[in-house]
C-alpha cells in the first residue's frame, strides 16, 4: 500500500517559495489501478515523483508497505526503488543501447547473472510483444513501441508498483488504447499496482478503478472512478469530465447528462426514448463507446420545457437503468 501523510513540497523560486503539494493525504491500495488527474501545473508529476522519492518532500511521510521512505537511507532507498517501476511521457530510453540492452539495464544494476537476465529479457519482450525488436535501437521504434520497451524495462526487476507519468500523452489515440490495454493486462495478470498520472479523463475512465483529482497543489476529491464520473463534486472534476464550453453553453432549457457505466446494453436508446415519450431530443454532447455490447461514457441532451415530458423522460431512463444528472 502507498500512503501519503501530510505531504508538502515547496520549491524555492526567485520571489519566495512555490508550493507544489499542500497537505496531501492519500492511500492507494494494492492491486488497483489508481488515477491521479489534474491540469498541467496542478502538482501531479511532483506527487508521483514523491512515491519513489525522485522528489524529496519538504514535509510529511511517504509510506510504502509500512515503511517511511523519507527516513530510509540512500542504499535502502535504491532497494525500495527496484520495487517501484516507472514509465514516462518521454519514454526516457537509453538511446545508445538496443531494446534488449535497455531492458537489461535495471538487471545490470543489481548484477543479475547473464543467463538469468537473458531469460528475463525474453520473457518481458514477449509480454510487451516486441520479441522481434530485441536488436533494434530506440531511434528505429515508434512512440508506442518505445513505451512498450519502457514498460518492459520498468518491470524487469519484478516490481510490485508501477508509476506512469503521463505515459500515453505523447501517443496517438490508437496507440494510447493499446498501451492502456497492456497496462490493464499487467495489473490483472501480474498483480502490479499501477498509479497513473494523467490530464485526460479518458485514460482514467478506461482503466482506473480509483481516482484522485488534484488541483492547485491539493487533492480536491478522490474515490471510485464510477462515482466521480457520475457525480463530480469539485469544479475541476466537472471541467475534466465535460469541457467548460459545453457546460456554460446558453442552450435554452434544462440539460440532462446521461451516464453510461456499462449497465446498459447497446440499443437505439435515444430514438426509442424519442418515440415512446413523444418528444424531440436534441443531443448537445456525446462521448460514448461500446465495449462488449455495453455502453460506456456520457451524453448531454437538451430537455423540453414541458414538465410532463421531462417526467416521462426520467421514467423512461429509470426503466432502462440509465444514470442521469440534471443540470450537468
Amino acid at each position: 500500500m502507498i500512503e501519503f501523510r501530510h505531504l508538502r513540497k515547496e520549491y524555492p523560486v526567485a520571489n519566495g517559495t512555490l508550493v507544489a503539494l499542500d497537505d496531501i493525504n492519500l492511500s492507494i491500495e494494492n492491486g488497483v489501478i489508481y488515477g491521479i488527474i489534474g491540469l498541467s501545473g496542478a502538482g501531479k508529476s511532483t506527487l508521483v515523483r514523491c512515491i519513489n522519492l525522485l522528489e524529496r518532500p519538504t514535509e510529511g511521510e511517504v509510506i510504502i508497505d509500512g515503511e517511511d521512505l523519507v527516513k530510509a537511507s540512500g542504499k535502502r532507498l535504491r532497494e525500495i526503488r527496484r520495487n517501484i517501476g516507472m514509465i514516462f511521457q518521454g519514454f526516457n530510453l537509453l538511446e545508445q543501447r538496443t531494446v534488449e540492452a535497455n531492458v537489461r539495464f535495471p538487471l545490470e544494476l543489481i548484477k543479475t547473472p547473464k543467463e538469468q537476465a537473458n531469460r528475463r529479457i525474453d520473457e518481458l519482450l514477449r509480454l510487451v510483444g516486441l520479441q522481434d525488436k530485441a536488436k533494434a535501437y530506440p531511434s528505429q521504434l515508434s512512440g508506442g513501441q518505445k513505451q512498450r520497451v519502457a514498460i518492459a524495462r520498468a518491470l524487469a526487476t519484478g516490481p510490485k508498483y508501477l508509476l506512469c507519468d503521463e505515459a500515453t500523452s505523447a501517443l496517438d489515440p490508437n496507440t494510447t488504447n493499446s498501451i492502456l490495454e497492456l497496462l490493464k493486462d499487467i495489473n490483472r495478470e501480474l498483480g502490479v499496482t499501477i498509479v497513473m498520472i494523467t490530464h485526460e479523463m479518458k485514460v482514467v475512465e478506461s482503466i482506473c478503478s480509483y481516482v484522485a483529482v488534484i488541483d492547485k497543489s491539493k487533492i480536491v476529491e478522490h474515490g471510485k472512478v464510477t462515482e466521480l464520473f457520475s457525480c463530480p463534486k469539485s469544479e475541476i472534476a466537472k471541467e475534466l469530465i465535460l469541457p467548460g464550453l459545453i457546460r456554460s453553453e446558453s442552450t435554452p432549457g434544462n440539460k440532462l447528462r446521461l451516464i453510461f457505466d456499462g449497465s446498459v446494453t447497446d440499443k437505439p436508446l435515444i430514438s426509442t426514448l424519442s418515440r415512446e415519450c413523444g418528444v424531440e431530443v436534441n443531443i448537445l454532447f456525446a462521448d460514448t463507446k461500446t465495449i462488449d455490447g455495453k455502453i460506456f461514457g456520457h451524453m448531454v441532451i437538451a430537455m423540453p420545457s414541458d414538465d410532463r415530458a421531462v417526467a416521462e423522460i426520467k421514467t423512461f431512463l429509470d426503466k432502462n437503468g440509465v444514470t442521469y444528472k440534471e443540470g450537468i
Binding site: R78, R81, G90, N92, L94, E95, Q96, L109, P138
Partner: protein, 232 residues
Amino acid sequence: MSELLKQLFQSGEIYKHAWITIWTTLLSTLIAYLIGLPIGVLLNVTDKDGLRPCVPLNRALGLIVNILRSMPFVILMVAFLPVAKFFVGSSTGNAAMLVMLIIAAAPYVARLVESSLKEVDRGVIEAARSMGASNLQIIFKVFLPEAKPSLIVGAVISTVTILGYSAMASTIGGDGLGKVAIIYGHQRFNEDIIWVCVAFTVIIVQIIQEVGIFIAHKTDKRIRKIKKRRVL
C-alpha cells in the same frame, strides 16, 4: 626548392619531425584525457543541478580550469617551466613540451567533457534513478555511454587544438613541425619549408578529423546523429 628543404627530405629529418608532432600530440591528448575526463565528470556531477551537488568544490574546480584555460599557451609555457622541471627534470626539450601540452590541454578537455555530459537527456538520468541506480552507476552506465559520440567529437577537437599548441612548443626547445617551420623556414628565409610544414599539418589534421568523426558517427545510434561533416 631550397637546398635546405632538399636536405630535410633526403635525410628524413622532415618525416622525423612530423612523426614527433604526431606522437607528442596523441600522447599528450591521451594523458590530458586521463586527467581532464574525471575533472569534467566531477564538474558536471557537483553542479547545483548535478547528481551530487557540491557548490564549493564545483566553484573551486571551475576557477582553476578557467584560469588555466584563459592563459595563452606561449605564456603558460614560460610560467610553468618550474613545473616541467619538477616532473621531468628539465625545463626544455620534448619531455618538457609534453608536460606543457598536458597542463594546457587537461582543463580544455575537462570543459569539453562537462558540456558533452550536459547534453545527456535529464529524463534518462531520472529513469535510471527510478530504477535504483547509484550515482556511480549513473556516471558509468548512463552519462558516459550516452554521451559517447559527443565525447569522441570532443576528443577530435582537443587533439587538433593540441596539435596547434605543439607547434608553439619549439619556443622551449620541443621538436616537431613547428620547430622546422620556425627555425629552418622562417629564421633562415626558406619560405618553401614553411609551406611544406603547413601541408604536413593540414594532412595530419584532416586524417584525425575524418577518422574521429567517422568513429563518432558510427557509434551514434540516435536518429539525429552527430554530423559527418562538421566544422571543427
